[in-house]
């Protein structure tokens, strides 16, 4: 469906993207995940045609659209702040893409209205067509923006931080709703997020980006369980990092707070200086004896809470080792 080859982009002296290759299959739900400045939004805008790459090609459905402007790419784009036309009613917003058509593609007014109504029903905003965007809640506006993008029957749906401006509860509901909608419509979709939880929950595949490069592409479970670079290990999920004694400088062992076994004769000893409940587990934080490294551990909350000042001995039972270049030198150790 989408094939990106060698996409590069600079903004003045600032390199935003370095040679991005990405393939997306029809019907896939893809998350572009990365911190701000990683180039994820730039990549999304290049796929849409709102921005143009300096070099590389963009293929949509086998067609080279590298130099086509957004208006001719037939993609639906949902903006982070919705970009609803505030002087138009919700129905007119949704029908905008149909009403600007000229010539033989132009539907009669009644048909455009019927289509807008149909889309509003799809996004569960039936009956709100005569309101103005200013009279809607954040979550409702988001759904209007989605309906407006879907009205042009796009071959691809692109969403820029779709839940960024919403509060936590609405965000969670909308997330599930979008997931269902995607399944129901079978549309190929790509969304940008800096929220790993969102990416892992929604996407079929997660594309982790950092400093204009793709660090790893994979199913959420694979990205979480088998991060291929120190950045992914650190950015997706929580990770403890320990320097490896007796190896080249910069080598690190990464393990997640729950990837440990308690053992009275464990190799590591944590001196607990903070404890709190983190959902279903106890989170104990503190410095390791010897190396003085800061570490977080998850302990079953069925047991007693760890005490401050207590020493917890443990072994990481599953860990990854990276050398100073960020190459993985060893998979699951110990």
């Amino acid at each position: 469906m989408i094939h990106l080859r060698g996409i590069t982009k600079r903004f003045g002296d600032y390199p935003a993207l370095h040679g991005i290759d990405l393939d997306v299959a029809p019907g896939e739900f893809i998350a572009l995940l990365g911190p701000s400045g990683s180039g994820k939004t730039t990549l999304l805008r290049i796929i849409a045609g709102l921005e143009f790459q300096d070099s590389g090609t963009v293929l949509l459905g086998g067609e080279d659209v590298s130099s086509l402007p957004v208006a001719q790419r037939h993609v639906g784009f949902v903006f982070q702040h919705y970009a609803l036309f505030r002087h138009m009613t919700v129905a007119d917003n949704v029908a905008f893409g149909l009403s600007v058509r000229r010539g033989k593609d132009r539907l009669p007014k009644a048909a455009r209205h019927a289509r807008a109504e149909e889309l509003l029903r799809l996004v569960q905003l039936e009956g709100l067509g005569s309101r103005y965007p200013g009279q809607l809640s954040g979550g409702q506006r988001q759904r209007v923006a989605l309906a407006r993008a879907l009205a042009i029957e796009p071959r691809l749906l692109l969403l820029d931080e779709p839940f960024g401006a919403l509060d936590a509860k609405v965000r969670k509901d909308l997330r599930r709703w979008l997931r269902d909608l995607h399944k129901q419509m079978g549309l190929t979709s790509i969304f940008v997020t800096h929220d790993q939880e969102e990416a892992l929950e929604l996407a079929d595949r997660v594309v982790v980006m950092n400093q204009g490069r793709i660090e790893q592409i994979g199913a959420p479970d694979a990205v979480y369980m088998n991060p291929e670079t120190p950045f992914v290990s650190h950015f997706v999920g929580e990770t403890n990092r320990l320097p490896v004694p007796g190896t080249a400088a910069g080598s690190e062992i990464h393990f997640r707070p729950h990837e440990i076994t308690l053992a009275p004769d464990g190799a590591e000893a944590l001196l607990v200086d903070n404890v709190f409940r983190k959902g279903a587990v106890w989170r104990a934080e503190g410095l390791l004896e010897g190396s003085g490294q800061f570490v977080e551990l998850d302990l079953p909350s069925s047991g007693e809470a760890p005490r401050l000042g207590q020493t917890i001995r443990f072994n990481p039972h599953r860990a990854r080792m990276f050398n100073a270049n960020g190459d993985q030198t060893q998979g699951e150790t110990r």
């Binding site: 709102l50 957004v70 784009f77 903006f79 036309f85 505030r86 002087h87 600007v100 042009i152």
Partner: protein, 278 residues
């Protein structure tokens, strides 16, 4: 009774308000009242007669004509410049922003002189113009040019901050939905900026009708032909026709008041600056 932490003592507040009111009354209200009282000193009859002289009527007509030409021109220029500055990246953008402010920072007399130097008899294009029997300086085209130059910043200055604040998202959304440039401007951009534009046009119009310095340099003060209202006021005043001078001046003052009221109504009705993005 508790006081807000940032508020001054009642005494200081009263003093500040008094100073502001006295200053305002002395420098704004008093002159305004003087204009109308001088104009009506000998009653309504002489006031109306003064406005009915052929020269006064010609000055009013010319002023309206100048405004009718320069305001629409600057509306188009202002929108185009603001659009270019806020929606595109291009080299020389900073220079363009500075240039837009030039008429504000240059003395109007200098602005007028620029056109004399360009189009006057001894000016850069003077010989060529004379050859083709075209008259710009000491004629209506020169007055239009000077007025357009002087009033150029009003619309752009009003729109640039507004359009910067609104960003490009709405326009990008429109083109992603298949709208062309004109549809995007007409259905999305223009509705977003309409009140700011109207406000800029009002200010532009007030200045176009009231401009003295630049117009004075290029007009040549030909009675009944190239005298605008402000120039006519000066001529009458210099001839000791005080009622006539103040009668025409009161028309200009009235225009200023109408502009102020319209501006206030706009701000109150649409929260122009408080909530441009509602």
């Amino acid at each position: 009774m508790s006081m807000a932490p940032t508020s001054e003592s009642p005494l200081a507040r009263a003093a500040l308000i008094t100073v502001a009111l006295v200053f305002l009354g002395f420098f704004l209200l008093l002159p305004l009242l003087a204009v109308f009282s001088e104009a009506l000193r000998q009653g309504a009859g002489p006031f109306l007669d003064a406005l009915h002289t052929p020269d006064a009527l010609a000055a009013i007509r010319l002023t309206l004509l100048i405004a009718a030409i320069s305001v629409p021109l600057n509306m188009v220029f202002g929108v185009a410049a603001s659009w270019a500055i806020t929606k595109f990246q291009f080299p020389g953008k900073a220079l363009l922003i500075t240039l837009i402010d030039l008429p504000f920072s240059v003395s109007p007399v200098v602005s007028g002189l620029i056109f004399v130097l360009l189009f006057g008899a001894n000016g850069l294009f003077g010989a060529w113009l004379a050859e083709h029997d075209l008259k710009i300086i000491f004629a209506v085209p020169g007055i239009v040019l000077a007025t357009v130059f002087i009033t150029f910043p009003f619309v752009a200055r009003e729109l640039i901050p507004l359009m910067l604040e609104q960003g490009k998202d709405d326009e990008e959304a429109a083109i992603s939905l298949g709208a062309n440039g004109w549809q995007t401007f007409w259905h999305v951009t223009l509705p977003n900026i309409r009140w700011g534009l109207l406000y800029g046009v009002l200010l532009c119009n007030a200045r176009a009708m009231g401009e003295f310095g630049a117009v004075s340099v290029v007009s040549g003060h030909i009675r009944g032909e190239t005298n605008t209202m402000p120039l006519h006021v000066e001529i009458l005043y210099n001839e000791y026709d005080f009622v006539g001078a103040f009668a025409v001046a009161s028309l200009l003052a009235l225009l200023a008041l109408v502009t102020l009221i319209a501006k206030t109504v706009l701000e109150w009705r649409f929260g122009l600056h408080a909530g441009a993005r509602h």
